[in-house]
């Protein structure tokens, strides 16, 4: 549960940081009268909403990774090979994320052509990533590591599948954003959508990098130093 608690510690730090700003030591019974600021964020509500959602998604993946690490610890762990194709897929996802970042910068400057190009590239790369993942599944399957072969293989299909589904969901949102960008909806509206897409993509890229790092581990991690050795092996 190390990884999960690392994640929860990050969430707790954000919550604590937020709580500190809410004047929790105020004595509201002594303070009747108008108050200028309620403590609400000046960020768009949709962004806050996405932030909360990403916290939930992050929790989901931390739990999957924790379960994976705990199972590794429990002995009799026969790891599945990592298809080399995953490196290429990782590059695709990085490019996808980069393209959306490009669209985001273009949207901030008001260049609609850049936005469209960025969205299109980002979406295309994401599709390429998904196709690559499917091929990787097929390769593993052909190599005898089918879903029920052993726990390591099952975990790989499960976690990469859940991640892929999240990309797929993101593509729906991306499609709607593209629709807006091509329809020529007012600039601010498109910009927000593009920013939300980029945020989501960067997050899923981060999740994938962690997952991929985890897959590259071939030996079970020791329970005492699990987190440390995980970080050590990833970097």
């Amino acid at each position: 549960m190390n990884i999960l608690y690392l994640f929860l510690a990050v969430i707790a730090a954000i919550v604590a940081w937020w709580l500190v700003q809410q004047r929790l030591t105020a004595k509201p019974w002594l303070e009747a009268g108008p108050i200028g600021a309620t403590g609400a964020s000046s960020l768009p509500t949709a962004k806050i909403g996405l932030g909360v959602f990403l916290a939930v998604v992050g929790c989901l993946f931390s739990l999957l990774i924790s379960a994976y690490a705990m199972r590794m610890d429990m002995g009799e762990w026969r790891p599945a090979p990592v298809p080399a194709l995953l490196w290429l897929n990782t590059v695709m996802l990085i490019l996808s994320s980069g393209a959306l970042q490009w669209a985001r910068v273009a949207a901030r400057r008001g260049g609609m052509d850049g936005v469209r190009a960025g969205l299109l590239t980002g979406g295309g790369m994401a599709l390429a990533f998904l196709a690559g993942q499917l091929i990787a599944w097929h390769q593993l399957d052909a190599a005898g590591y089918y879903l029920t072969a052993n726990p390591a293989a099952a975990f790989f299909y499960l976690i990469s599948g859940v991640h892929g589904l999240h990309i797929l969901g993101g593509l729906v949102a991306l499609g709607r954003t593209m629709d807006k960008a091509w329809q020529g909806v007012a600039g601010g509206n498109v910009r927000l959508s593009v920013e939300l897409c980029a945020m989501y993509w960067h997050f899923l890229l981060f999740v994938w990098l962690v997952l991929f790092g985890l897959l590259l581990l071939t030996d079970p991690i020791e329970s005492d130093s699990g987190l440390v050795s995980l970080i050590w092996r990833i970097f």
Partner: protein
């Protein structure tokens, strides 16, 4: 009372007013509606309906325990199916959905002074996915083999093995239903959290929020972080059952035959399940804490004692609830230092909880207590929660838990603390807010009758059950048969408990009659029958119209608990009353 400014200065809103959605037809107004108030009622009706089914199942459980072998329709398989479905429905589909989806949807926008939730469309989807989850669960009753009988904790490997009731379809539908429930809840939960963060009206700081909102807000954050654990566990078990993976399934020899499973870990499931399961207790308890605080303050005409401490305690309980899950697994076997850690953290969580109890009692101290029906239920909650909480302190210790864990003592404990106590708050909340929802009061006499039967009856059911646990009557057993250490008097006690349970269950008819009868015949309530300070009672219309407020959103000038302020003309000052009008 110090006034820190002049009333004329009204600051501009920081967050723009949401663009309100307007229903165009009957269907979008009452069925596929995005108005949080309608969604709240949809959630409540669905949750209470499925809860009634679970109540009837508890009757069957009790009938079997009191009169074993008398009823032919209660076979051992049926018995385990009733136990499983009763537990699962009550905890998740009734209490969680009712507190967060029902009370949360109705009260959050009104209490923070918003027109609606921030993402109304997602909020509507949340209800429909929840309804689908309930329907999938109900479908398992009609599937071949019936619903699952694996116990509400669904422990593998037995949950998906041949021989457990509901193995063909029940367990699959159960897991699918849980997955749907969590997806639906996440949609709603995003709304509750972000509406509290961003939807507050001018002047409504976090420290001016009523504790009801604080309770629901903290519970929702807990749920958003805890439900993914159940989600992961459900998906993995569904894989094990349907696709034949071995996440939780070790190599098993059943009836001399090697099953195809190998290499999984059942303990992994327990960790995931209880990582969700313990926060779940507080997901149900925190909204109850919040609502009870408001009921007590309003009906004792006194400000809540230690408001800041109440908020801090809510946050502290929420944080601590993530590091105590292991106390559900003492008998699964664990490293002794881990047992020590979980026992300690479990006992520590009693500290903020005790602070809350003291603060409720101190709020009552020298208050102008009106023994209205909501107040009766709130008082009943305090007593019941203390009772159930204290047995929790016993069970939190490894050495006490190990012998008691498999007995009726545990059944009595968790029913007191997370069954009866929150349900009393649900009733109190309904009696309290029904006038706002419908514009009419519930009948007082019927309400009192309902309270006394429910409250006293609950004690008649669960107090003797603790005793049964002490003398070693095991839980989960279909029938005891001849057992040397259980005296024959246990059987007559079981008959007594069952009689009480049947009466309490049947008495709920009075409540439902009251709900329906008062809808048209109840006394007209007016806008603020309890003379309460919080914003939901200050709406221009009762029941609140679409968009909650008139043209202008209310502006908040004070906290939620200005009752019996010295020198004030009335014994309450609504949150939106500017200080200048106050007589000093």
């Amino acid at each position: 009372m110090v006034d820190i400014g002049v009333a004329e200065v009204i600051p501009p809103a920081e967050v723009e007013d949401v663009e309100l959605y307007h229903p165009k037809s009957w269907v979008t107004k009452y069925v596929f509606c995005q108005d949080a108030k309608v969604i709240a009622i949809q959630y409540s009706i669905t949750a209470i309906s499925i809860g009634l089914a679970a109540l009837v199942m508890s009757w069957f459980i009790r009938l079997q325990l009191a009169f074993p072998g008398t009823f032919s329709f209660i076979t051992p398989s049926n018995y385990y199916q009733f136990v499983t479905m009763h537990g699962m429905i009550m905890v998740i589909y009734l209490l969680t959905a009712l507190f967060l989806g029902g009370f949360g949807n109705y009260l959050i926008p009104l209490m923070v002074g918003a027109r609606d939730m921030v993402f109304p469309y997602v909020n509507m989807l949340s209800y429909w996915v929840y309804l689908l989850a309930v329907l999938v669960l109900v479908a398992s009753f009609f599937a071949p083999g019936g619903p699952t009988g694996a116990g509400w904790t669904l422990y593998p490997p037995q949950a998906i093995l041949e021989g457990t009731p509901g193995r063909p379809w029940g367990i699959i539908l159960m897991l699918a239903s849980l997955i749907l429930f969590i997806i639906g809840f996440t949609m709603g939960g995003l709304n509750y959290v972000v509406t509290v963060l961003q939807g507050r009206t001018r002047g409504m700081t976090m420290m001016r929020l009523p504790l009801t909102v604080w309770g629901i807000f903290t519970a929702t954050i807990l749920a958003l972080l805890a439900f993914p654990a159940l989600f992961v566990a459900s998906v993995m078990m569904l894989f094990d059952r349907v696709l034949g993976t071995s996440f939780f399934m070790p190599a098993i020899v059943q009836a001399g035959e090697h099953l195809k499973y190998a290499g999984g870990s059942p303990i992994l499931f327990q960790h995931l399940f209880w990582f969700f399961g313990h926060p779940e207790v507080y997901i149900v308890a925190l909204p109850a804490f919040g609502i009870v605080s408001d009921l007590i303050s309003t009906h004792a005409r006194k400000n809540i004692f230690g408001y800041r401490m109440m908020v801090w305690a809510l946050v502290a309980i929420a944080v601590l609830s993530f590091i105590v899950w292991g106390h559900h697994m003492y008998i699964s076997g664990m490293n002794p230092p881990f047992g020590f850690f979980f026992a300690t953290s479990t006992l520590i969580i009693a500290v903020p909880t005790a602070i809350k109890v003291y603060n409720w009692v101190l709020t009552l101290w020298r208050g102008d207590i009106h023994l209205t029906v909501p107040m009766l239920f709130a008082l009943g909650f305090i007593v019941t929660f203390v009772n159930g909480g204290i047995t929790g302190l016993f069970l939190g210790n490894v050495i006490v838990d190990v012998p008691l864990s498999a007995t009726m003592f545990v059944v009595a404990h968790f029913h007191m603390v997370m069954g009866i106590a929150p349900i009393l708050v649900v009733f109190g909340g309904i009696y309290h807010w029904y006038p706002k929802i419908t514009g009419r009061m519930l009948n007082e006499r019927l309400g009192q009758f309902h309270f006394w039967i429910t409250f006293l009856g609950a004690y008649l059911i669960y107090f003797p059950m603790h005793y049964l646990g002490f003398i070693g009557v095991p839980r989960r057993y279909y029938e005891l048969g001849e057992t040397a250490f259980v005296p024959p008097s246990a059987a007559s006690l079981n008959v007594f408990i069952t009689t009480a349970a049947l009466i309490v269950g049947a008495a709920q008819i009075v409540f439902f009659f009251n709900l329906i009868w008062s809808l048209s015949k109840g006394k007209l309530a007016g806008g603020n029958p309890w003379k309460a300070t919080t914003l939901e009672w200050q709406t221009p219309q009762t029941p609140p119209g679409h968009g909650n407020w008139g043209k202008e959103l209310p502006v908040v000038y004070r906290w939620a608990y200005d009752y019996s302020v010295p020198g004030a003309a009335q014994d309450f000052l609504p949150q939106n009353q500017p200080p200048a009008i106050q007589a000093r």
